[in-house]
Symmetry: C2
Subunit: 236 residues, 2 copies
DNA sequence: CGGCGACTTGAAACGTGTCAATTAGCGTGG
DNA sequence: CCACGCTAATTGACACGTTTCAAGTCGCCG
């Protein structure tokens, strides 16, 4: 007797399935692009204060943009998935206040700022795509502020996972029972993104596992009970 | 015998001295503006999910944009001073994820989105002013993420105060010995902006006063020892 | 004068951090 | 193929910062 279809329903999310930069910017922008560059995991791709008149876009892999403090603690501002600009602000400023590091091996392209800017101003639909990306970046930053200011460790971690899953899901997360996610993050990445310590992240993840909410093995994370996990993340 | 000039040097910062919206947008934009509206302190000016095709700009007074959670706790995303757009994102989206509330009595104007947008696209220098404002908004949000994720209560509060002072100072904060700031915030505003409780804010402020760093009476805050206060705020 | 909101203060509880010891996992070289 | 050494993760005991709760003061306005 087969398992009931509802319970066996499974959604697998991988970052190589998400929208590619060309879909965001449209083919007309590709003439402003430099060739693809590949960097290994853990490499710094772009450093705070670097001057560079380019707008880099992730094509493959995961990266993180973060700020490093004097005591060597760091705060991750956002994870960059394929299709993400390092920051929309690069279109206007050649300098940034944050550093970008590859988490996995990363392919990226750098678009020339001047050409890109000129093209955006000429093509209103391209421009719309661009500001939508920027607005989403800002909206995510605001959400993170709320998470860090007003939510518990458990909630922060659950929300981080759900947000990543949502960004990887091409059509958004439905009511699927089982969600399996490609998950290359180390616990210290989660810690730096949620404002916690790696030790505490480990404890909370163990708790979530014990509660039957998630499974985390190798570089794959599975949300076992999406509904309960969501309640945990959005309550308050 | 008079006090030495260095020690008596004083800088007074008031929000009615900061740059006016017209200086940001240039006079050419004023044809897109609605007349000034005035709302009393504590009034909600614009609600989350309100649909409104306008880009509101503060002309006088202080306001706060915040997100409210289900348990009635709230997180302030930013304080709005004269010259600030409620959010640059309003230029593109008529809906927002946050609410704006007047702290003092507030005058504001709403610019018509369509006209404003058209004008920005036609006048590159206006456009530059606009994206600079947006980039600054984003940069402040990123700073707040770092503060909430990685700094102590004392640091967060000191940084909040210094940031407000810097925004009120037309030419930036120098090495002035005494900085006196118009400060209409209640302690619960500070709490909601720093992710703390009002009780703890009270304790930290008392500590700062006892340490001779600040003076806070009525609606005026004085930084008594700017250098020490800065060290406190920027260390880490 | 009374009432109310803003603030203060202290005691105790709680969540998260710190430290330290231990285990698991993984790539490298013998 | 195994031993080694490294980094990542786990776990427990304890410390610390912040919250919660409660009582009380102060100032302001009706």
């Amino acid at each position: 007797m087969p398992t009931s279809p509802d319970l066996s329903a499974k959604l697998t999310l991988r970052s190589d399935a998400v929208v590619k930069p060309c879909e965001i910017f449209g083919p007309s922008l590709w003439q402003a692009a430099s060739p693809v560059r590949t960097v290994p995991a853990r490499r710094i791709i772009r450093c705070e204060r670097d001057l560079d008149d380019a707008v880099p876009v992730v094509c493959r892999g995961w990266a993180a943009s973060f700020v490093m403090l004097a005591d060597a603690s760091r705060q991750i501002l956002s994870f960059l998935l394929p299709g993400d600009m390092f920051s929309a602000a690069f279109l206007f400023e050649s300098q940034s206040h944050c550093t970008v590091e590859a988490i996995t091996e990363v392919d990226y392209r750098a678009f020339k700022r001047g050409e890109m800017k000129a093209m955006l101003l000429k093509q209103p639909d391209l421009f719309d795509n661009f500001y939508k990306a920027w607005a989403e970046e800002k909206s995510r930053a605001d959400q993170l502020i709320v998470d860090l200011g007003r939510r518990s460790a458990e909630e922060r971690i659950a929300r981080l996972i759900l947000n990543l899953a949502a960004r990887l899901a091409p059509r958004g997360l439905g009511q699927t029972e089982n969600v399996e996610i490609e998950f290359p993050l180390r616990q210290h990445h989660i810690a730096d993104a949620t404002g916690l310590t790696p030790v505490h992240v480990s404890k909370v993840l163990s708790e979530l596992r014990r509660g039957g909410l998630i499974e985390l093995s190798g570089r794959t994370l599975t949300i076992l009970d999406l509904e309960r996990f969501r309640r945990l993340a959005y309550m308050r």
